[in-house]
Symmetry: C2
Subunit: 662 residues, 2 copies
């Protein structure tokens, strides 16, 4: 849309938003802080472009590879080398490191970290305070203070956000978001390169999930369409067993797929673990010589062990307390509320009252969820978890508890207490179709509407001001300002810990629970879900590419907590479906134990066995991935062992002599 084709080589990836300079600025006696910031950016080697928007000024930043590489070396990134081993990055030895599939050296996630490192570590290296000016205020830049943080806290820099790469975005739009006829196939590698690993993993999961979903969908359709005659009674249990096996196998194969993807992208599986290690390293940051290390080792070992043990127990206690708080409050507060709603809904006759009740209920759960989310975030924050991803997981579990109650307790009520299968089916259809369609519409239209509104307001404001000052500048909004006006990819809950993936996964999980837990009451649900997921792939892609700012990349390489939630839902669905079957076959309403009930109970146990047995049969990691990992680990030590040994044993000799002499 912006026709500057010559710019192809420079890709601006970070945008900094500052207010437009007031026009009544004449005196040049002290330094304008924005000019200083731009100068400092340039000094660090960044390529800077200043763009004047309608309301704000934008500083677009790009970095030559060398600048990024040096930042990476300072950050001590571990990157895979050509011998297959991860080593800390060095700019001088850049040839040793494996490049990305598209030929670039760093992934988007790494580039983003480098940019952050560069721009947030512009400190005042002089010895005196630098006086900066902004509008009419004075800002004192104290020695050693990072400039960008200072300006952010003073309100001069409004935001720092990642920019879309217009060429790649358009390419992806064509090859991915608008490519409806590809059904579940997606250009995962390009998504990975553009959005980073976490989002790519989400879409890979969504694709594989939808592909596998075709099996139960056809099974459900057949059950609906074909009349099995006298076999009808046996068809449902058969469907049930197929379904559970399907779900268990799917998640096992997903784990394999996940680790295969990570191996393809050369991501070390234990990347998360590494950050945990740094947690203790602070104390011994000066580790260089083996001799020093060894001296510390003996004394430190016991101290370290005690430290970790204390830490572990404390963490465990905090987590236990928090979980207890959450679980108790869900059971004591939310459960009665939901049951009251379900009961009133069942009891009330008039349709109008029902409608009113539902409206009140919807408003109530909105605020309930928001409150619950806030409490969860607060609890998670005092949990002292090792790193951000652990915290995000802890939050996911807690918030899912809320949503679980909210989404299913009413359905349980209809299914179990009133044994009203017709109402159950109605509720399911209603939820599945209405809810999903509405969700999809909402999540795509709301960002677009907010964006349009913001744009409209910006133009209107501009016009108003122009009428005042009557300078005849062009009306076009620069692209970077358009991006700034787009909403960020953030979670509806706990913005600090999770991004928009939270909502997308939540939708998927709730759908999975809905179709699995009540599968025996409504086998057709899988067909609906398949259709929904097929559209979900493209609409989510469209949302990410066209309606949102580029999300900040995240390093988590698995679907994390959600996987455990899926597993939990499988177990739940074994139990609920067993109960449903009992209800279906026990028509006269008395809990009479016939051979039928015994059979269902036995089947339930067999299924639980399948659930927990199958995961042992299929290994989580393909053999080739495992072998490659092993090889890398072994090579790591082999390559340099001799020389290392010499230095250790040399130092050890000196050390033991020292010991003797003292």
């Amino acid at each position: 849309m912006s026709g500057n084709e010559g710019e192809e080589e420079i890709v601006f990836e970070i945008g900094v938003v500052v207010p437009k300079k007031g026009e009544n600025q004449g005196d040049e006696s002290s330094l304008d802080c924005v000019d200083v910031l731009v100068d400092e950016f340039k000094k660090r080697g960044l390529i800077v472009e200043r763009v004047l928007g309608l309301q704000n000024e934008f500083i677009k930043l790009a970095a030559p590879l060398e600048i990024l590489g040096k930042a990476a070396a300072e950050l001590q990134f571990r990157k895979q080398t050509h011998i297959g081993m991860d080593l800390p990055f060095e700019w001088d030895e850049v040839e040793a490191f494996v490049r990305q599939p598209d030929g670039s050296l760093f992934t988007w996630c790494e580039r983003f970290r480098c940019y952050n490192h560069i721009i947030y570590w512009i400190v005042n290296t002089g010895k005196s305070v630098v006086e900066l000016k902004y509008d009419c205020r004075e800002i004192n830049w104290i020695p050693g203070e990072p400039l960008l943080r200072k300006l952010e806290s003073e309100g001069v820099v409004k935001e720092v956000f990642p920019l879309h790469d217009e060429n790649k975005r358009k390419k992806l739009l064509r090859s991915w978001a608008l490519n409806w006829w590809d059904f579940t196939t997606q250009p995962i590698d390009e998504i990975y390169l553009y959005y980073g690993v976490k989002i790519a993993i989400y879409f890979a999961f969504l694709g594989k999930y939808t592909r596998w979903m075709l099996f139960p969908a056809t099974l459900g359709l057949t059950m609906q369409l074909v009349d099995f005659g006298s076999m009808q009674l046996l068809v449902l249990p058969f469907f049930f067993i197929c379904l559970i096996s399907w779900a268990v196998l799917f998640f096992q194969f997903w784990k394999r797929k996940n680790s295969a993807l990570l191996a393809r992208w050369q991501i070390n599986h234990l990347a998360g673990a590494e950050s945990e290690y740094k947690f203790f390293q602070m104390e011994q940051s000066s580790l260089q010589s083996p001799a020093e290390l060894m001296k510390k080792r003996g004394a430190d070992k016991m101290k370290e062990k005690a430290f970790f043990q204390r830490e572990e127990w404390f963490r465990w206690l905090m987590r236990f307390r928090n979980d207890a708080v959450i679980i108790l409050s869900i059971i004591c507060l939310q459960l009665p509320f939901e049951l009251a709603y379900a009961h009133l809904y069942e009891v009330i006759g008039s349709d109008f009252l029902k409608f009113c009740l539902t409206a009140v209920y919807l408003l109530a759960i909105q605020s309930f969820t928001r409150m619950g989310g806030k409490i969860s975030v607060k609890l998670v924050k005092c949990e002292n978890n090792e790193n951000v991803e652990y915290r995000a997981r802890s939050l996911v579990y807690k918030v899912f508890g809320l949503y679980f109650m909210q989404s299913y307790i009413g359905i349980f009520y209809h299914a179990l207490l009133h044994r009203n299968l017709m109402t159950l089916r109605q509720v399911l259809i209603q939820r599945l179709i209405m809810y999903e369609v509405l969700e999809n519409l909402m999540e795509n239209s709301i960002p677009y509407l907010t964006y349009s509104f913001k744009k409209f307001r910006a133009i209107r404001n501009k016009r108003k001001r122009e009428q005042g000052s009557s300078t005849g500048k062009g009306q076009t909004i620069p692209r970077v300002e358009k991006e700034y006006l787009k909403p960020a990819y953030a979670a509806s809950i706990g913005r600090e810990l999770e991004d928009g993936l939270f909502d997308d996964f939540l939708e998927l999980v709730l759908q999975f629970g809905m179709i699995m837990m009540f599968a025996c009451a409504f086998p057709l649900a899988f067909a609906f879900a398949t259709l929904n997921n097929l559209t979900e792939i493209r609409t989510d892609a469209l949302k990410l590419l066209a309606m949102m700012r580029r999300p900040t990349p995240r390093a988590d390489a698995t679907i994390g907590a959600w996987l455990n939630i899926f597993q939990f839902l499988i177990v739940m669905s074994i139990c609920t479906n067993s109960i449903l079957l009992v209800c279906l076959y026990d028509q006269d309403g008395k809990w009479k134990v016939s051979p039928g009930l015994a059979a269902i109970l036995i089947m339930e146990h067999v299924l639980l066995f399948i659930k927990f047995g199958f995961s042992r049969i299929v290994p989580e990691e393909p053999a080739w991935v495992r072998a490659a990992r092993m090889k890398n680990a072994a090579q790591a030590a082999d390559m340099c062992s001799k020389q290392l040994l010499r230095s250790i044993s040399g130092d050890e000799k000196i050390f033991s002599q020292m010991k003797k002499s003292t």
Copy 2:
């Protein structure tokens, strides 16, 4: 007993058994093969002592540290260094490696591997065949042929077996086997040093298991002794819940204990994985230069991946087929047999007939088990598992299936079909007390009796011969011959894959199943089991120290397959106890569903949830162990990264130039 105190420094650890030289040997024209063997041992630097026994001659071998070290370097052992990282052993850099708690460099397991390497790699380095003589036979030692193997196949060397270290053995006897008043505490570190990791882990497990067992034992005793009045009905379910939680927590804490022990003994957890890596390394054994590696990398990667994928699927199929064979044959052959026995036992009135029946049954299952074991070993052998420990595990699962049916199906029959709780209790008491006491007696007396018988026969033979030749040599048997006459620590089943630990673990597992699965019928069982395990610790120790040869050490560092079997038994016991409770509370014999049955069903599900949920709450590895592991992994790469990088990137440059020029 042998009073040579001056020998303290030389510890003979390997014994080689050769026949006594016939006395009619006069001609010295060609070489006697035993003399050659001894000479070769001496040439390799081993310390050799020849002892003339009553029936055989014994060559006792000891090795100075340097000889072992050089063998270790040839074998490329990975050992932990002082910086905490595992590196291949080098004799010249011996100072760099961590020593054992008792100051020795190598563990018993490592020493044993070194000895084996030394003595089995005595090859004919010359170019011509060496003609050896034994009695009157000629043995041709072909160039490149290992001498010991040759002599073994010719029947000259009867056996090679590890020798007890008399000092340490006596010390352990005092501090461990005869130390009854220590109850569950044992000198685990010394056991580890003397017997190696696998046996030490067994005893650590047994100790911790017995210690934890005190809790359910006291609970069971209280239930038996105290009369709860009207609460009686609630006590049993409470006991049940406590029990399952106890079992789940115990195994979770055992895993922690296990990894803590391994960290203390400086054993790398992934040692098993390493051997798997070597599996593919054969093809690229010449890896030295990074450049070579890289050239291969591109082409090899795809081939390797395909190879591993094929391999994995093939292995999976084989395993699946074998498991299917085993399961089907157990269900189709063993189950009807066991049920027939249980039914006949129930039906027959006369005590004499019952006794006959039991005798026939016992004989039948003896041969049944032996046959099953043989089939299992054969099946496992064609499974193409990665290494020996995998095979052993596979065998354990298969054989356990047999024993499971054998031990429990009769009890199930009494409990479930006949709902005869009195018979059930009788059978349980009978099995627990009689069986365990008998087992203990048998496993200790049989080795002793066989040993005594062999010794007696040896002395008698000697006497007979002496009467013939009438030379007046002393009647004392040398110690090494006594050890040779002792039985080896071998499994009753599948001698090639498992050692005596198999039987010990099997006993433990069967006991666990018995007391857990029928806990609600007989809570007192835990007290019996505790007493039994307390004696088991000492009698097993006594057996190992006094009645068996020193076992060949094994490298497996966990209780492996048995852990999974324990877990399986916990799940089984949730189900069986639920059924037992239903039987107990449903006295009139009709399967009527009262609120009681519903309550039990709910409880069962809660317990299953506990089982699978609890294992997530308690991490398997203590935080300090994990942190130490992480640190080692990170240091590995950090220490030598710069220099490595230079060599990789240098080679890479050359490589890319080469590519361009071609």
